[in-house]
Symmetry: C2
Subunit: 335 residues, 2 copies
């Protein structure tokens, strides 16, 4: 039986600060319709797809920012999106700011905030939830930045790990699906956690500024997109999976986010790429049988991975400098 | 003080099965001279640089293959190379097959074989030794391959971890250097082990067949080089390090190895690339200060890595399939 699914990346153009969810959701419904016309079984939206990228705005008291968050899915505002994916039998990845009332690590029930994504079945059921692990930026106002990036202020670090689920997509009975969010894609640890679960389709959304905002040298502007695609392509190749990276793009609240959403195959090849900075759908037929080659040969993990040599990856968080070699010392690394 | 070193990749053309080490070493000395004329402080040679890529040849009894290995460095055959790097004050990466007499894991002294590389100081002293961890291919003769790839037969898995050393190079007092060998470059775990030690220059040699030899579909020939560069570029970017990947290239014993040796900067950009399939030197001025940007911002490991979410990387070797989702079940990944 063939295992081909048609995947759509639904890139969003900018969402201005005062744009209502009703307008945004209407735009998303149009993109679902367009993805359906292109035969898609899966539609992937960006990170924080329902609002502007609000972590660029400093707030003193987070309780004043609750409007940016969702307390439930679906909600009256997002119901039309759920209706659309049900209508077209589509599986959907949606990124949003999550406001949850749940116990913290000490067992105390409280209001908690996460940068979250979900996989939604055509029925509207939530199949899988992920909360962003690699939050970039700062917790406090930064004086050296041109633009603030306050994800560490607005969100707690995700506490759900990197889950993968097998679920039906279109006619295919079982597709192994996992999620990343934005900055996660630069971290090979995140991809590997998914690869260890035989992921076949990694869905990830992002809001990435088109220029480095730290006023520091050595990074040409065009490398911003190169780094994004490099990380996605390497993650897909090294874990033998398809990947869909979806941008919120264009000039939002006066600041430019990069576009160039991509669909990548397990060989690391770009199958489709968005070329506007606006609402845009790209699609690709993904033959999941392609995941087998890498998984059973060069990246047959059981055959080739060597845990005894991976000593620092999970035993230390930060890096440490090596010893300085001295002439006439014993050879470092020799027995 | 500037921290600029000039790095040379000394690509080797093919070495035929019956070519003597004297001829090979003479070619390497020419490349050292050429690297010196280009102002190099460091010269990087390929994996198994002193012989043909012999793991393509099956032998029943490994003791019959001892001629492929080195028992000591320098040896009479390799002394001219050591003389050349001393003459020009150059630091050198050399890959070779190592025959060692040392205790195994059970404490018994025996003959052991490793796919090894060393960093040699201008004085001729061995600064650091590395033994290849990710051995590709098979231990036994494979009937499904066009060409054998018997590294798992010829070598034991490296037992020195992924060491990094700080040593002087040229006028720079302290350069953090690490090594990989061939297939290691495809494994983000290997790069990360080096990155955790603040590596600034990753040296790696390879012998990579120009076509996939497993008679299986889905991999266009041109992707072989793409995968190599993708892995090196991603490894450099994600660990904020320079990288030098050096090929043995061309048609060796009738089988083609890919070339396209590269020098890559911490932004993942290719600074220089070989374009012949023969002996060739490429050089690049590497400003080690470039490693700082990534290391202190987006890849500030201490600030951003989340060990508690890396649960599978070092707890399981092989991958395992995810659970199949059932409608109306609790949300996977939810609390």
């Amino acid at each position: 039986m063939t295992r081909i699914i048609t995947v759509a990346a639904a890139q969003l153009g900018p969402i201005q600060r005062n744009e209502g969810r009703d307008v945004v959701v209407a735009r998303m419904v149009r993109l679902v319709e367009k993805a359906h016309r292109h035969g898609a079984n899966v539609v992937v939206f960006p990170e924080l797809a329902l609002t502007t990228f609000f972590p660029r705005w400093y707030v003193e008291n987070l309780d004043d920012a609750d409007d940016w968050y969702e307390e439930a899915l679906p909600s009256p505002a997002t119901q039309p999106l759920f209706d659309a994916i049900r209508r077209y039998g589509m599986t959907c990845y949606l990124g949003y700011a999550e406001l949850a009332y749940e116990p913290d690590e000490t067992g105390i029930m409280r209001k908690r905030r996460f940068n979250t994504s979900v996989i939604i079945a055509p029925s509207g059921e939530i199949v899988l939830k992920y909360r962003k692990v690699h939050l970039p930026g700062d917790k406090e106002f930064s004086k050296i930045r041109n633009v603030q990036h306050l994800e560490k202020r607005y969100f707690e670090v995700g506490n759900l790990g990197f889950p993968v689920v097998a679920a039906p997509v279109g006619e295919v009975e079982r597709v192994n699906m996992g999620m990343l969010i934005c900055n996660d894609r630069r971290w090979p640890e995140a991809w590997r956690e998914l690869g260890m679960q035989q992921v076949e389709l990694v869905m990830l959304g992002y809001n990435t500024p088109a220029v480095n905002q730290e006023n520091r040298g050595f990074e040409a502007h065009h490398l911003r997109n190169f780094h994004s695609q490099l990380s996605i392509q390497a993650g897909c190749y090294q874990n033998a999976t398809f990947g869909v990276g979806v941008a919120k793009a264009g000039t939002e609240d006066g600041f430019t986010l990069m576009g160039h959403s991509v669909i990548v195959n397990p060989q690391g090849e770009v199958m489709a790429m968005a070329t506007s900075w606006d609402d845009e759908v790209i699609v690709a037929d993904c033959n999941l049988a392609m995941c087998e080659l890498g998984r059973t040969t060069i990246f047959n993990f059981a055959k080739h991975r060597r845990l005894e040599a991976y000593t620092r990856i999970t035993s230390q968080t930060g890096s440490s400098a090596p010893e300085l070699w001295q002439p006439n010392q014993a050879v470092t690394g020799a027995i």
